[in-house]
Amino acid sequence: MLLRLLPWLAAAWLMAIGIYGMITSRHYVHLIGCLSVVQSGTYVVLLAIGFVWHAGPPIFYDHPPGTPAVDPVMQALVLTDVVVGAAVSALLLALALQLHKRRQTLDPEELEPVP
């Protein structure tokens, strides 16, 4: 039973600590890191949905098509997730760099509204 719940618990834990970090973050680079942690939770969720006991990878190179395999759609979604995540992290870090250049701070609570 615990083994069946473990992937969901791991995903929930990753998302919870990521969201907690984002809410309490005092530095935008730290906040972007927390966003990546939340996103790791989504990888675990997707892979856990696609998992099937006693099934191989959905790659039929050395075992013939028709042998049990896990869900390839979820794995394709995780790949999309990873690529978009990397690109978005890069963009957010560039935003943080620009913010630091203009306002000399990366603390969300010290930023004043633009007059």
Binding site: P58, I59, L97, Q98
Partner: protein
Amino acid sequence: MKYRRALRYALSILALLVLAPAVVLVALHMPAFGGQLLAYGATVNAHVPSMRQATNVVTAIIFDVRGADTLGEEFIFAAAITGLAVLLRGGRGEDASREPIHADGRQLPARSEAVALLIRWMLPATIAFSLYVMAHGQLTPGGGFQAGAMLASALLLLFLGDGYRSWRQVVPPVVMQLLEALGAVGCVAVGLLPMLLGAGFLENVLPQGQPKSLTGGGLIPLFNVAVGMAITGGFVNALVEFLEETRVPKEGDS
């Protein structure tokens, strides 16, 4: 300062209160872990290997079954890298420098020969492996996205081993910008190619080739290579833009 933090927490709790019921509702209706394959995945697993002569079903989904989504994903990536370049150049200007960073009164450390030698061994091997992963995308685990990220990291090894100047000489940013653009154009061209043959956008009408061969899969290897080029160019451009942030261009640099 204090009220701002209170406001932030209050808004976060409000957002969580709105989202939490939805999460609980979804969690209660999740399929059992490790049980049955979902219908879409089972159908794809049953039919795609024989229809496409592609043994890696994940790649077949990305570049064929859901090819239009991948086109969108590729352009999300291109848009993010373009946005990054616009943001950073907006603050810094268009000038670029080939010279390594220099702070007054601080010597540049000499490059370690052990590191340089190791990189010269590892670099060709890493490039060859990434090209292998790209070429075998439809057969074994891999594909254009993975290969592009690996190739970009392989090129960054040159920076580690031979320093910034050599890196910029061997991997000129303008070539990488062209590579990214050509890759993005290639993705669209791969979609338009079947239309010239009278089929739909991204419809896999090319000859499917032999199973377990590099040419198997029709459009899949072409799309794969186009995405690999775009991702390589995009990642190297992102690295160049971030590295440019650390240096001050002098007059006459190119």
